[in-house]
């Protein structure tokens, strides 16, 4: 197994790689001594080769789309086309200061404007802001707009946001950040929202509901029309968590379902990189009544000239959400991807994502796995429940996840959504081939067979990864969050 020392272990006092810094050190000039630092910060002192070698080796310790099938449910780990990266990193784009003249940014702004227009087409909504920097910030923008809308109408009593129990954690967390109370409603046995519970949850205090459709259970909420009627009926608004838009791209429009606001994770549906945790982009789109509240800035086009609309021109806006205009480079990547797909290509995305999920579900069902919602179509993802197997063998969903790593597959999402016990949320995406799916089924079957034969072996997995299972309890108890040079070097030689 491979380990790699912590970079500080390569450090030696006095090692310099100054080809990256000015050769001559300027003095502190007229800066008063009182504000100066006395000791240099604890940064590693390594050569360029040591840094390159270290970070190249570290990278090899990762699973990634570029190296492994990565069916992480709710994350849409599809291929990130390299063209998107290269074209977004053209020097003209990278070198532009955010406060640079708009005359010298017309190319960039044209892309942003066209992106806004494509997003309108994809959602069916008339208003778009590109500013939010991730899904959760899109949620924040959306719920803040709902709040601003009610306030603008003098409707101050609406302090509750309804959230199904299947919702992603960011939904309730966002509602609270926006000053709302969260009211959770259950899911019915078929995977749809429990309508009775919804009816009794709504009322004059309802600010709105946050839904994703298809839900994180991997099924399409069939009674979305009714839900919209119920919520709108009491004066609430509908928030669409568009993290799962990959499932319905070009098939159904959030606006037509009755939603008032939607965020889209461009880093999922529109294939910008996940980057080991980010960055993303969580653009928001709204129906007409929420348009005045959109976060600034956004791009407008007047007589062929593009420019930013600012807060002054949008007095009802919920304001700014980033120091400049959001994750411009990520937006460029999504723009390139969307232009390469075109409308037909987008429809094919949802078609093949759904084909892959349903095929995988059918094969797993055929192989004897328990499907959480067997009577339903899978959307772009679906849930396998290992409850029975776990009871029988003691092997848990987490054990399965770890054992899959030894088979060269990244694990599906485990233990989310929480309401399905011992669940694996599996999202293959459209960019994986049938052979890859078949191989994954074979691995799951092999692990199950092993679980029945020798559960301890499964519980010992993974064995082929750079480390074996980690002691999470110790990690949280004996906090070791930064490198301390005094500590003995345990990171390897």
């Amino acid at each position: 197994m491979k380990t790699e020392p912590v970079i500080f272990e390569y450090s030696r006092p006095g090692r310099r790689a100054p080809s990256h810094a000015p050769a001559e050190a300027a003095g502190p000039g007229d800066l008063p001594a009182a504000v100066l630092r006395t000791d240099p910060p604890a940064l590693p002192e390594v050569s360029e080769l040591q840094a390159v070698r270290h970070f190249t080796r570290l990278s090899q310790l990762n699973f990634s789309i570029d190296t492994h099938f990565y069916p992480l449910g709710s994350c849409t780990m599809k291929y990130n086309p390299r063209a998107c990266n290269r074209l977004a990193m053209l020097p003209g784009f990278l070198g532009r200061h955010p406060l640079g003249a708009v005359e010298r940014g017309q190319g960039f702004l044209a892309c942003m404007h066209e992106l806004q227009e494509m997003l309108k087409a994809v959602t069916g909504m008339p208003g778009v802001s590109l500013t939010p920097m991730a899904g959760a910030q899109g949620e924040l923008a959306g719920v803040a707009m709902i709040r601003a809308y009610h306030r603008a109408r003098g409707d101050g009593a609406r302090r509750v946001v309804i959230v199904p129990d299947a919702a992603h954690g960011t939904n309730p967390a966002t509602a609270v950040m926006c000053g709302f109370e969260v009211r959770e409603i259950p899911t019915d046995p078929s995977g749809d929202v429990d309508l009775e519970a919804l009816r009794s949850a709504v009322g004059p205090d309802t600010a709105g509901i946050m839904l994703t459709n298809p839900s994180t259970l991997g099924v399409f909420e069939r009674r979305i029309g009714e839900i919209a009627a119920i919520v709108h009926g009491v004066g609430g608004l509908l928030y669409y968590d568009g993290a799962n838009l990959n499932a319905i791209l070009g098939r159904a429009l959030p606006a037509a379902m009755g939603f008032d606001v939607v965020h889209i994770n461009l880093h999922k549906t529109f294939s910008t990189p996940h980057g080991g945790g980010g960055p993303g982009a969580g653009v928001v789109a709204v129906t007409q009544r929420l348009e005045p509240f959109l976060p600034v800035p956004m791009v407008t086009c007047e007589a062929g000239r593009y420019r930013w609309l600012t807060g002054r021109e949008r007095p009802q806006s919920i304001g700014r959400l980033s120091a400049f205009m959001g994750n411009a480079g990520i937006l460029l990547r999504a723009y390139v991807y969307m232009r390469m797909l075109g409308g037909e290509g987008m429809r094919r995305v949802s078609g093949f994502a759904t084909l892959n999920a349903n095929y995988l579900m059918a094969k797993l069902r055929e192989s004897g796995f328990e499907i959480a919602f067997p009577g339903r179509r899978a959307s772009h993802e679906f849930i396998v429940s290992l409850k029975g197997l776990s009871r029988e063998t003691g092997v848990t969903a987490m054990d399965f996840a770890k054992a899959l790593l030894d088979h060269g597959y990244h694990a599906p999402t485990t233990y989310f959504p929480l309401l399905v016990p011992e669940c694996l949320l599996i999202e293959p995406t459209e960019t994986e081939s049938r052979e890859e799916l078949d191989g994954f089924v074979a691995a799951l079957v092999a692990i199950r067979d092993l679980a029945r034969r020798d559960p301890a072996q499964v519980k010992a997995a993974p064995l082929t990864t750079p480390v074996r299972r980690l002691d999470d309890v110790r990690a949280a108890r004996d906090l070791d969050l930064t490198w301390q040079s005094k500590r003995p070097a345990t990171g390897g030689a």
Binding site: R16, L58, G107, G275, P279, F324, V467
Partner: protein, 456 residues
Amino acid sequence: MPFIPHTEDDVSAMLTVIGVASIDDLFDEIPAGLNVAGLPRVGPGLSEAEIARLMTERADGDGRELCFAGAGAYDHYIPAAVWEIATRGEYYSAYTPYQAEASQGTLQLIYEFQSMMAGLTGLDVANASLYDGATAFAEACLMAVRANRASRSRRVLTTRAMSPAYRDVARSILGGQGVELVELPLTDGLTALDAFGAEDGDFAALAIQQPNFLGRLEAVDQLTDWAQARKMLVIGVCHPTMLALLKPPGAWGQAGADIACGEGQPLGIPLSSGGPYFGYLTCRLPLVRQMPGRVVGRTVDLDGRPGFTLTLQAREQHIRRSRATSNICTNQGLMVTAATIYMSLLGAEGLRRVAAQCHANTRALVTALTGLPGVVLAFRPFCHEAVLQFDCPVAPLLEGLSRQGILGGYDLSEDYPELGQALLVCATEMRSAADIERYAVVLKGLMTAPLRAQGG
């Protein structure tokens, strides 16, 4: 079909396994009325060659201005190795490292990043990034309100010298939870405490920026002691490169600031029209459970060998849901990758040289521009940015400069009308003496030419 690997044979075999006749049948749970036939408004797809040509033309048209603007985003040199490595597929196309055994590369890198940021700011712990400097500032304010056990105030004191954009963003975000931002006034470009009285009440925290938005160096020791004496927590908002030169927040005053945060862009992230950048946040160890965002810890595996994993997840939305410290999920991971490589390549000495050179270059710029009649320096000393005051409106000058390919700075007249016709300028280590000379010559031309004649 772009990016879709299926052959026609695959499709029919797969449909047979599923037991449907066509892909469209798989969408039969979508109620009839909600179905759409396609997305005609999106237009047809382009080949990679076609979109490459379009983007290349657009990027070429945009060009790169000779940049004398800072104001929150800085034109520093980025070593080639940074992005050649950061865009390796294993970093670029990995998800958040939830499966630790399959993500040791990303996890160890974040641990190293946390260590470096803690070192730069002189504090104990760091998170794995927030969206940008502005949202990091907002999260720091919320964190301070939660963390301050000595005060139940929902108000945070800051200063008019804090970045206007950061104050705007914080107001957008804090409003939801009813947290209020109050500003101290300025004297001579510096945060002034004189006017503050007991009647101004209780605050959860004081947030100061160093160097401040006007390029001035605040009396951080004094401000810190003052605030901590009043039971406020202290938040330092710092330019990370300048921290190679300046006293770190952890060393401010008697006890050190409690939280530091700021914009990570100067650490190897391209200007790129404003993003993606990343926000950093560090704090003293006792505050760690109030910290927003992801954190990596070092631990051991089953065999006792060291390894890395996400920890303290009970703060986060995917575990704690509505009671999380923040709703943040996706952060700016790849930017952190780049910044970690950047800091490793530069080291403390390299970073210090960059910082010192920025200071020296901005001084040279100020000397060159204040040599022109009608241009004076507002405050001295300054760090890597400076405020110039003009005897004529700044906007037309910036336009004129832009026509000659120069981004002359950031016009302060809207955010700081009290400064008159003022411009915030910055010359990083990237600007040569010839660049500065060019700026001065072009500006001189603009200020003596018809433009000015018309204006005056």
